[in-house]
Each structure stands twice: as C-alpha cells, then as structure tokens.
Amino acid sequence: MINLVISEKMKQIQTSMNGMAKGMLRPIARKYDANEHEYPKELDMFRSIKIMGGGKKKKKEGEEPKKEEKPGPKKLGTNLSTVISIEEMCWGDAGLLLSLPNAGLGNAAIAAVATDEQTERFGNKWAAMAITEPGSGSDSGSITATAVLDGNEWVLNGEKIFVTCADRCDVVVVWATVDKKAGKSGIKSFIVEKDRPGFKLEKLEHKLGIRASDTGTFVLDNCRIPKDNLLGSAEVKTATEGFKGVMKTFDNTRPMVASMALGIARAALDFTREKLEESGIKLDYNRNPNNISSLEKEFYVMEANLEAMRLLTWRAAWMADNQEHNNLEASMSKAKAGRYGTLITQKCCELLGPLGFTQEYLAEKWMRDSKIMDIFEGTGQIQHLIVARNVLEFSSKQLK
C-alpha cells in the first residue's frame, strides 16, 4: 500500500546523520574547499562507518533467518537508508562525503560483484573507481586501456582520468578491455593496488567545486597484477552481459548521486529560508502563490522541486531494495536532481544577493559543488537519453 509519510526509523537516520554532518562536516567545509588536495584528517574517524552502501553481508551457515517479532519497527532497505544518509551528509558537505575513507565507488563495485576471496582481500581497503579516459567519457564502451593475460598476471596499459579519491585510496578498480574486437563485452574491471610498479598517479585536478575531494589521473605502464585481481568473470561473452552487469551498478549509484544533489540544494534552501525569516518574511504555505512576493514564490517553487527530486530518488532506491528493475527510475532521479540541484543552488545565490556571492558564506560553494551532480555518474544528457529510450522502447540504434 502506498504510504509516503516517512517512518520513525527513517527520521532517526535523518536526525543522527544530520547531527554528524552538522557537527563534523559543516565546520570544516570551507577549510578543505580552500585547501584543495589536503587530506581532511578529521575524516579518519569515519573509517569504520559505512555510509555509502551497507557492504556485503555474509550469511553464516546454519543460521536461521530471524523471524519478525510482531509489528515491531518496519524494515528499511539498504538503498533507501543510504540515500537518506547521503542527503544529510551532503547537506553537511558533498566534497567531504566523497572523501570518506573506505567508501569510494570502487568499494561499491567490489561489494556488488567481488568473490568471497576478493572481499576478504579488498573489503577493508579504500577503493577508487577508474573508468573515464581522455577520449572516453560518457561512451564508456569505447575505453582503450588494455589488459593482457601473461601467465598468472594481467598486464595493464592505458590512462585513466577523473578518478575520485585518487590520492587517498588504497586500491583502484580499473576498467580495461581484454579484447578490443569484442567491444563492450571485452571490458572488465581489475583491482589494482596503489603500490604496483607501473601504476602512477600522474596529477591531481583543480576543480570548480567539491574541492575537498581529490580527483586524479593514473597512468598504467605495463602494470602487472595477479590473475585473481579481475573482478567477476574473465570470460568474454558474445553478448554484452558483462558490460551490462557493470552498467547495472549505476542503477544503484545514480540515486546516490541524485541524493547528493538533494543534500546540497537543501543546504542552500535552508540557508535562504533562514535569511528570509531573519528579514521578517514568513512562509505560510497557504496564500495564493500569485499574491506573495516573487521571492517567496521562487522559494516555494524551489522547495517543491526539491521535494520532487527527493521522491524520484527515494522511489528508485526503494525499488532497488524491493528487487524491482529500476534502470528507468534511477536515471529519472538523476536527470531531475542533477539539473534542478544546479538550478536551485544558482537561484539561491541570486536571491541571497551579496550573501550569495561572498565566500563568507557557503552558498557560493554549494553552487559550485552542485554542478558536478549533473555531470558525473552519467551526465544529465545521458540520463535523458536513458529515460527516453526506456519510455519510447527505442534501442541505442534507434535513438543515438
């Protein structure tokens, strides 16, 4: 039965995460925006806390699943609780959330497809994800980094850019092709430890926003890794099943990025509301929107859009928790949240006037931070393409 009133359990997560964001991230948000590339040492205390995804749970043999005691607290899925947490943390600071130790995108990939043995070896490492190349962005099927099997080792060559947590991570999940002729189905992901010879962090980027998060370029020059560092199956299938499997990770991670946009936009809105109220404007959610100041109306429209972003995001996460195919809904959430997060943070700066342009407050930073949410993990345009193909039932050939 449809019920979109948030539960006590969800509220608890919001409250505790918001407390953490407020107490630990907000106070250092400006510091690491100003000091790009400096490791936020304050985040070390998060090493044992899982926020981005619950990690892989192993069932102990012989253990009976616990029977639900009468009504009790309702269960809450991992994806939904994760997006709720992410929104709160990004309300604190998105760049810092992306810098949380052991919570990289690579960790999500490892959690999704690693063998038990790989989980054992890499489960506690900080894992970054390296997909993008200078000549391959949204078209991740066109990557040119190669992996060749030589005895018991893979030999990797290529260049990877825009790797989040490049400096701080322990291992990197690198996408490379084992068979260029096989196209997408030849693409595999490999876990490369940072200290492998031939694996070099070439440079760190200077960015518009999320400066607390380090983004770098890796060069793989005859980098050798053990055979079992390949994530998942080595078999090159004729179909593109393997690649699709990797793309499926996006169905889980896109709502997470959408919730990052949500958190930043809400921070900007909350600050704007605070300033509105300080100047004596009371939002009563009652009067005809045509009879209020344009400032108030703009605010309501932004808040409504924020709510829409959140509902689309929560739906995609909820579907994943309920084992429903959510490829369409995941892209919808990111298409909406990426774009409107950008628009909301821009508009808040405008409404705030000088307070939105000065570095004395965080509003200007939120406008810079938010922009990445419409770019990484699939640009807004890619999301629209996926949504359109889904609803039109068009293949990638019918709608390029």
């Binding site: 019920n3 009067r287 019918q398």
Partner: protein, 368 residues
C-alpha cells in the same frame, strides 16, 4: 495509530481500483472526449457510470447512506489521476458532490450530516457542489471577498463566485465566505432567493464541464447551516484536500498528454526517421515522463500525509504549486512535439493544454 510501512508500491486493492477506472474511462471517453469538448457537454449517463463506481459515497458511513468503507485520500488521489487521465472535465463533474459531502462529513454537525448527506447517497447521481473561486484579480481562498455577516439567527452572505461546477443543477452548494476575517463554509440550497445562478461560463478549457457564476445577494441562511455550526469549520483542511486533488488531476491530464506525444513521436516520420529518434524531441519526452511521475509522487506524498491524519499544509501546497507549473510545462511540450498537428483540434493535446491551465488557477473544484 500503528505506523504504516513506507512504500511506493500499490496494494492489490489500489491496483484493482486503478485498473477498473482506467477500463471504464477508456470505454466511455477514449473516442468521445473530443466530441464532449466540441459539444460542450458530458452525456449524463457518463457521469452516472462513474458515480456507480461508488468512489464518492463508498467512504460515507452506512448510517448516512454510504458503504462505510475506510476513507483513503491516497486511494482517492489514485482515482482522480486515472479519471483525469481519461477526461479532466468528466473527472471534476463526477466528483463534484464530494466537494459538498466530504466537508460536511468531516466538519459538519450531527444534524447537518443527517440532513444533507443521505439525499445525495443515492444510486443515481445528484448534483451538489462548492462555490469557492471568485471572479477577480488576485483571488485568494484564504482572503475571500464574499462576506458573511451574522444577523440574528441567520447569516447573510454577499459576493460573487465563479467556476462553480454543476451549479445549474446542484441541489445544494457549500459557499466559501469570509466571516470576521476567517474563511468559513455555508450550506446554501438551490431555491434560496438570495442565490442567483448566472449564465453558463465560457472558459479557456474544460469546455464539457458546466460551470457557472453565482451571485449571492443578501443571501440569508439559517445559522444552523454554517458548516460546523457555532464553532465553524476547518477551512485549512478543506484547502489541503482540494489542493492534493488538483495535483492528482494535474498528474492525470499531464500523463495523457505525455503518452499521446510519446506515441506520436514514434510514428511521425520526418527526414526518413521517427522524430523521436532525434534527441531534441526525445529529451522532451524524457522530461515529460519524469515530471508526470514527480507530480504523481508529490500528490501521493501529500495524500499520505492527510491519510496519516497529520498536518498536510506544506505538502499539499507544494504539490499544487508543483503540479500547476509542471502540468503547463508537460502539456505545452505535448502540443510542441506534435507541432502544427498539435495546434489543431483533431489531436487531443491542444485540449490537454487548455484544460491543464486550470490546475494552478482553480481551487476547490474537487477533493480527496
């Protein structure tokens, strides 16, 4: 009250109801909505058929002539979206009595319930309605210009109301008027000498829906006919529910436009391929798709809040603000995707566009 599980999933009951209404509307209006609009009338048996589904009276207790089923604003939002997906004019006409009956049920005195509800809980549809909108610039339901004044054992109402659905045939209407700075509702019978129903209105959209301007000239009603009696009514609650309802209707009419444009864009071939194969068109289709969903989710969130007996002022307001803007955007895109063909009345997108304008403008045309 025990906490319900947070869920985006429909129950069996909700799904069945949605499918039943979709089937009925498809049968009734799929090929007739255009004619209804052109002829500016809804065949009475269409309204009757929707009425027979019992959506309005099912939640009225048996003692007042209903079926006594559980009242569910979420279910009502699902129903309204589906009705409006079929035809927005029919959706409003067939549910107009709920605008009279639900507020009485929720906020009326025992006598008001006993007196006014049972006559309308009939197997055949009988019109009753609400008069809330006013024909003026800067109309606001929380600052009404129609005034009620206490005079002895009666109230005297003066003012003009517009967009009153079915006022021509309604036996009773709830009239919203300002009483000492607060919006209140008054039960006015059709025969009241102070109530004058004007000409049928000609509007931008909803051609098939009969709406009227009604004038209240020293319209005197017994004090007992003020909704809720001495203590008055909770006008906020009414506004919240009608805002949720309009948001759900917005999702319905927008979905109709989206689906029509989507299908058309796949069939319309220009430059050797379907226009949907061009990103400029496809991206509009994508945007329509997620905005329709967003509107629905906003309406359902607000409806869930009402259903949980929580204050839904913020949720309902935002749902309506959102639906007002987005219905325009989606139905506008609907016309645009069809180009010149969208501008002529052979295709329904021009009607959706005209009808859609009502979401932001109208208040209190229906309720959940």
């Amino acid at each position: 009250m025990e906490e319900r599980e947070f869920s985006f999933g429909m129950s069996e009951e909700q799904r069945t109801m949605k499918e039943t209404i979709a089937r009925l509307m498809k049968g009734l209006v799929a090929s007739n909505a255009h004619d209804m609009d052109e002829k500016k009338e809804i065949p009475p048996d269409y309204v009757q058929k929707v009425w027979e589904l019992g959506a309005t009276i099912s939640v009225i207790p048996e003692e007042f002539g209903g079926y006594g089923m559980e009242y569910s604003p979420v279910m009502n939002a699902i129903i309204l979206e589906e009705l409006a997906y079929g035809d927005m004019a029919l959706a409003i006409a067939a549910t107009a009595p709920s605008m009279f009956l639900y507020p009485i049920l929720e906020m009326g005195t025992d006598e008001q319930k006993k007196k006014y509800i049972p006559p309308y809980c009939d197997a055949s549809f009988k019109a009753c309605t609400m008069a809330i909108n006013e024909p003026r610039f800067r109309f606001d339901p929380v600052a009404l210009e129609t005034k009620a004044v206490k005079k002895g054992s009666s109230y005297v109402i003066n003012g003009t109301k517009c967009f009153v659905p079915l006022a021509g045939t309604a036996g009773h209407m709830l009239v919203a008027a300002d009483l000492d700075g607060k919006s209140e509702l008054f039960i006015v019978a059709a025969g009241n000498p102070g109530l004058k129903t004007g000409e049928r209105e000609k509007n931008l959209g909803l051609y098939a829906l009969e709406t009227y301007t009604v004038t209240l000239e020293n319209c005197e009603i017994p004090a007992a006919d003020r909704l809720g009696g001495e203590k008055g009514c909770n006008f906020d609650s009414l506004l919240q529910k009608s805002r949720v309802a309009l948001a759900a209707i917005g999702a319905g009419v927008s979905r109709a436009s989206f689906e029509y444009a989507r299908d058309y864009s796949k069939e319309r071939v220009q430059f050797g391929e379907p226009i949907a194969s061009r990103q400029a068109v496809a991206f509009m289709i994508a945007e329509m798709a997620y905005e329709v969903d967003a509107m629905r989710l906003m309406a359902l969130k607000a409806a869930s809040t009402v259903e949980a007996a929580l204050d839904a002022r913020r949720e309902s307001y935002l749902a309506k603000v959102y639906a007002g803007d987005m219905t325009m955007k989606v139905t506008d895109y609907g016309v645009q995707v069809l180009g010149g063909h969208g501008y002529v009345r052979d295709h329904p997108v021009e009607r959706f566009y005209r009808n859609g304008r009502g979401i932001a403008i109208l208040e209190g045309m229906t309720t959940v």
